[in-house]
Symmetry: D2
Subunit: 405 residues, 4 copies
């Protein structure tokens, strides 16, 4: 039983922390200013130049693509990467700096594991260089996507082509000026066994028949310059070599993608909670009411203590899930992966909500990153499987564990 970080994780996390403190936090406001404060239409979104500067600097320091899974002598274990994801979670704009932002990480991982050499050359290389961005087309507007078997979009093989049809939404990152490609999931083999009916296809965004219908807001925010799109696919015809892995392997690939992806998401949202607690404490120490700093009023100390406990427990649980993936694989970590997917965002939502409350009106405004962090935590309770689906799975696995299945 050893709860300490490995020397690798310790060293990298310290470097990233230093990077953020020196370069990013002092210039967060500049980033948003360069993004364009006047709410331009999403087609006018642009990449703030400072982001490219940060990226170059991070890459120069070796803080780049750290999410990649172990392979030969390179790559970090999930246990080692998790604390890095946490630190990147302190700011909504940090992950991209290190080329570690969703959904590119998951997409790169899929290509890394399942892509053909040709696919790797065309898409993985520029993604790993941070020259292009990508999107994952999964969720659909017309059905409850919490039940993946509801999926309606199709990708049928017709001769030497594969033809895509359907409508996707919450396609995150599709608004980014550099977004060039998406991984599309659809029904390829409707009559196959339940989990061998779907395929994943690489679709260039400029393919005829692909149309971004509109951008969706999250609590009125559009997450520029990434954004969340609703995208229609009308008879999009692609060569067969755009298929990843092969027909019917969509679920298998998705499954492998989701385990580490959930570790990343959960650790980032834990970082968001840490940032919120830090802001909460600072505000509670500086603001005065009724002759006392806020920290000495009412139940504020209890709020701080509860936040510390819930953050630390969520982190331990997430690290345990990462450790299980590393040691026994995703199948042996199914309950824990679902557990953190429920625990971490719910915890973060509550901690950030408390931080908002102690900031008063400032808390919901853009003067602090709290509203943005809140939106991230809140959405994460829906994305990648809603709380309800994960609780149900945890209960089923517990049932087995009790010998009652």
């Amino acid at each position: 039983m050893d709860f300490s970080l490995s020397p690798t994780a310790q060293s990298l996390s310290q470097k990233i922390r230093t990077f953020l403190e020196q370069h990013v936090f002092p210039q967060e406001a500049l980033y948003y200013q360069q993004l364009g404060g006047d709410s331009p239409h999403w087609r006018q979104w642009k990449v703030p130049p400072i982001m490219e500067t940060w990226k170059a600097e991070a890459r120069a320091q070796g803080l780049w693509n750290l999410f990649l899974p172990p392979h030969g002598s390179t790559g970090l274990s999930n246990c080692d990467y998790a604390p890095l994801a946490e630190i990147m979670g302190h700011s909504p704009i940090a992950p991209e700096i290190f080329n570690c932002n969703a959904p590119d990480t998951g997409n790169m991982e899929v290509l890394y594991k399942y892509g053909s050499d040709e696919q790797k050359e065309r898409w993985l290389r520029p993604l790993m260089d941070g020259r292009i961005r990508s999107v994952f087309f999964m969720t659909e507007p017309d059905v409850a996507s919490s039940d993946a078997t509801n999926m309606q979009a199709t990708c049928r093989v017709e001769g030497s082509e594969i033809v895509l049809n359907g409508r996707k939404w919450w396609s995150s990152g599709v608004g980014h000026p550099n977004c060039k490609v998406g991984i599309f999931m659809g029904v390829s083999d409707p009559d196959g066994p339940r989990h061998q009916r779907h395929a994943m296809v690489l679709v260039p965004l400029d393919s005829p028949g692909v149309k971004i219908e509109r951008m969706l807001s999250v609590f009125h925010g559009y997450d520029a310059p990434f954004g969340h799109g609703e995208v229609s696919f009308t008879n999009v015809r692609l060569p067969l070599n755009t298929l990843i892995g092969g027909p019917g392997r969509g679920f298998e690939i998705a499954q492998g993608r989701l385990g580490p992806g959930r570790i990343h998401h959960c650790m980032r949202v834990i970082g968001a909670a840490e940032r919120a607690l830090k802001l909460l404490c600072e505000r509670a120490s500086k603001r005065t009411a009724f002759g006392k700093p806020l920290v000495e009023l009412g139940g504020n100390r209890d709020i701080i203590a509860d936040a510390r406990m819930r953050i630390d427990m969520a982190r331990l649980l997430t690290l345990k899930a990462a450790w299980l993936i590393d040691t026994v694989g995703i199948q042996g970590a199914m309950s824990e992966i679902s557990q953190i997917k429920v625990i971490a965002p719910n915890m973060a939502q509550d901690v950030i909500d408390h931080a908002i409350q102690i900031h008063g009106g400032a808390g919901v405004s853009d003067d602090f990153p709290l509203a943005a962090l809140y939106a991230y935590a809140r959405v994460l309770r829906i994305a990648d499987g809603p709380d309800e689906v994960h609780r149900n799975l945890i209960a089923k696995l517990e049932w087995k564990r009790q010998g009652l299945a």
Copy 2:
């Protein structure tokens, strides 16, 4: 003991409900379309023409200025008005239709009770006609406004003039194209007794020295065409007849304004919760996952039952507070007014959050009014005194009640 609505309240609430169902709900989308979907700068905000149509129709039906307190043969009691506020709370855009939106209601009430004939003629009449809008300058960015004695803004009498200085924020409604006047609260008598140091002043927005510095977002939303502004006042010189009531009476006037205002806010947010529960149920009946409508899955029935119970209790408590104001006055309703200010928005935040969850991604988008209703409920836990201040007051009054003070 009689929990039924009066015939007046029943009849008016039915009329408003019908109005909303016939005119507003089917055209909510049109309203937002006319508002301008491209996020224009706030100086380009405009009033959607359909709002003026709705207002004219509402006025023609006698559904106008219903919030006004009893006076002679006109006016409704708080008990009678409360259910009307609830129904208006079903849509963020409904209150304005009936000229019953904050902060105009509170401002009109102040003028109605404390304004000079001249002030009434100049400002109250056009407000009651819905021709202009107004703003209330109270909260300040640099201090914890939860403690009203922290207020730093000043309004000093200098000869025949009164001079305003200071900075206010969360000045709601200041962005509206028709917003012409504000009620400014500041320190007039710094050496007076603790609750006789402040004054309220009517300040035309075009007065030299008044500057809207910026608009503030609530979870990235700007509440167009009303908005929440940060406004600076630099040596704003006004004639003495802009003073309401007299120097040192600011707290007294504010106190009278807050009681009924909190009833209105709380009933509106209860209406918001009812709307959310309605949407939740509809979604739970229509969407299917794992072969069943969502309502039959997991704890969704418990969520519905809990929402029903919490809404009904919040309503009863708010009606009791209204009844106390009507029968024994604000002083005898202090605990209850604080109680509803804690209970109603917290309840609504939770119910709306559950409704968001069952809608999945659609819940946080603008496809449903849930994100907007959520922001209203969340902000109400901060505005008009944060939860913490109200809980503290309730405890102090309970202490007295137990004979322990």
Copy 3:
């Protein structure tokens, strides 16, 4: 809309409060001493003499059988009786003083409404005189009694006799030395329509075949001198005139019994919460830690405020349910009756738990009535339908209300 108590309710509640303060609270310890501190076997339980003194005094003051439903010129409405039940709930031993304790109240009401003249003469009269006590045989050990159709006990008519068989438990009051009769519910018509299969039978406790197998504890307490028994019925043969109402009418009678009974239970448990809050405040004012009275430490004021709000809301909801029963009948109050059955005991459990916490070790001991009140609240979440069954019914009725059934 009028939230005030009627003059009758006000006057009676004041009398009962005075009675408790003058006679009961100062002598609660004596009562328990007379009950016998050495935990005698239940067959040695005796009635503390002071109880008979209190009863005589209460009857002399007209504070007797107040629970009886309106009939001619006598009897109180549910709205008028509810506040009296609340005050009696301040002490676990108070209801018996006024001959208003469960299950006798429900049993008397059943006899009052459905009993034959002969049954009234034999059982109702001594019950109304407080000379005997009674028990209700409903819940069974071998099935989930939350689903009443699970009932296994039988009462079959054989010629001029009715024969009882089965096993009941949680038969409250069966240990009382004066307990002479029970109302037994069992299947009389197994092939009848779903809600016309059961009957209620008056069974004298000394009938051959009736055996108290053991007494059950509630958190290790036995509720002497009432107690909760497990009772077996083996070919208990009774004359047909012991049948109440007639075969197949068991559900109908039970239904009529449960509405007002739940009002009583919920108001009593609200009284228990009020008592707990009073004790909490007193302790918080008297005990000192770290140089301050406990009330000034941490979140204790928030706990007091939350308790006040939850108690007041539960009371309002219960009074509304009572008002609905009085005005539109039990059928029109089904959702509200289930709502209070969930809300009141859960609220009381939490408030009492907080009171226990502030008392430290004393809170769980018998030095304060908190442990006893806690047990009452906790058990009430199970008795008369567990929370889960009531939440399910509330959701179903809400579904109808939303037009979705």
Copy 4:
């Protein structure tokens, strides 16, 4: 980062689990029967013979005194002992079997670390043999013992004697027939520095002036044959060699005692929660209502999932605290020790409460160990520092961590 148990911990925990399943669980009822079901007066309490049989068997298997801290080649680390404490927590009677029950463990540890050779010979040896039991006299009835500086009891050195005066309560274990000695904490140096005013003294229970005034119940239960006593000390004169460590060292010794003690308590209560979850699942699988097993009704699956998550997080946090004590010492684990003291019993109280609910009436009776486990969890929120004191300490340490102290 390694979350696996050491081979030692794995092997021992498997042995204890097997021991409990083979010997204890099947005979729990017999134990209670031998204890005497007729609630004898505490002076008639006796040790069930089966307990001595179990103890002999456990000792023969080497499952004895496992709690002892590492020393030379014997003793387990806190990390290794923690999982053993968890398994012993599955039954309220298990810890004694392995001579690992509170307060003897803490008392033995104190003697082990601070006792003189003479004290060890006289008291530690028979305690380690399980021949006698002991008690810890700390909490006092007349002051808030959550603030240890409130302590009123005195132990003043007078010549060659030390004289004890004062009143203690919640002296757990004092009723045990074999209880022979207590460790008494009192003020020895009233004018010393704040944390050097107290001393610990070994007091034989048969010393003149020691009187057990009464036994205290926990929710009406007396925890026979251990019990919780209220004990008076009137001029109890003892030789100076009964002093442990020396005058003024009471706090220092208490501090060292509390760290591991809290690990033990928290792990045991986590075991209690695991037992409750197991019982909950079994009941949910066996009982049927409305045509389905309970597990398929309402939110029961969510309850199971939430219980699993909260148990696992509490365990991880407790193991981390144990790991910190093992690696950096108690001073470096202060926040975590307080964290688990809040988290574990609150979690267990909730999980056991849910298990009670699903058992219906059976849940609060003695047919299942749930009521006893509940009492243990509830009391633990008060004993060894109430939640409030620990939350306050956690907040203070967080404040320092954020650089704000």
